[in-house]
Symmetry: C2
Subunit: 151 residues, 2 copies
DNA sequence: TGTCATTTGATACTCAGTTTCATCAATTGA
DNA sequence: TCAATTGATGAAACTGAGTATCAAATGACA
């Protein structure tokens, strides 16, 4: 079963209608290996209206098909979710996104439970990089570092 | 030197003018142990205009005085930065923020450098909790868990 | 094919944040 | 001490992202 099919399947299985707009949107977003913004889809998928694009993205996030990535500034990016639990490596120059998961980190975060009276409900990790492609294309690290220190 | 003094000092040292608006804003934001939104400051500090509040917050983020926390939805929250490098524990119910830092995690993230051709420029970790106070006040974990899985 | 709840989309709206620019105020230095 | 200079302010208008409305369209299923 292809990615496209599995996404459509999941919507069907959960009682959502398979409409022309939704199929067009799925077709478009699975092409974005490196993630996309809502407005990019609005522009690309002319068959679907603005409201429908936003509604469909939200639906797919709810269904676990898409990851929503809140950027430091600007609109969030979305990526098709691969691994069940994972985090993101984001290029600060081109915005491309890859997934990762480190058992050591997961364990360390898990052990934070019960350190105090709080109940941990989730966590999020983002690693910001200048990807190989952007560096090869001449993007410099230093100009970027300042605004992405995340210290 | 108090927190208030050290913030004002830093602005002075970096060549920014110590104006009435800035002092009023600093006075207000240091009172928010648990973080605040830009609009909260706009409401609270009537002596400063909307634009000035946003400009001042941005200035303080640039100076490392404030942390900007992009929420999953809604406006970002800001907190006064304590430790030099740290991450955040955020209550999904009341929005209160605490800092943490785990050497194990820092090391693991550091070791990701050079795994591939990317250059790591920073990282961000957020741990979402239902804080003890909210739980005591009757907030339930289950209703929250779904929308904050961050998987 | 008919039924009908779901979905759609044009439009208007909200909300967060930025730009503009005339005015104001902190610093400089004569 | 008092311009001159430059940085800072703020009302108001604007932008961009996303949401609400609601009549019309359309999938799903019998
Ligand atoms: Zn993801
Ligand atoms: Zn994790
Ligand atoms: Zn912080
Ligand atoms: Zn760290």
């Amino acid at each position: 079963m292809t990615l496209r099919e599995s996404i459509i399947q999941k919507l069907e299985d959960n009682g959502f209608r398979i409409t022309g707009s939704r199929v067009k949107l799925v077709d478009s977003l699975i092409k974005h290996e490196e993630g996309f913004t809502a407005e990019e889809l609005v522009t690309e998928v002319r068959e679907a209206g603005r409201a429908t694009v936003y509604r469909t993205i939200r639906l797919l996030v709810d269904q676990g098909v898409l990851c929503k990535l809140a950027m430091d500034s600007g609109a969030p990016r979305y990526t098709v979710s691969g691994m069940a639990h994972h985090h993101h490596i984001i290029c600060v120059h081109c915005g491309s996104v890859r997934e990762f998961r480190q058992t050591v980190i997961e364990r360390a975060l898990k052990s934070m439970e019960d350190d105090d009276g709080d109940t941990v409900v989730g966590h999020r990790i983002e690693v910001f990089v200048l990807c190989a492609a952007c560096r090869a294309a001449g993007a410099k690290v230093d100009s970027i570092r300042a605004e992405h220190q995340h210290s």
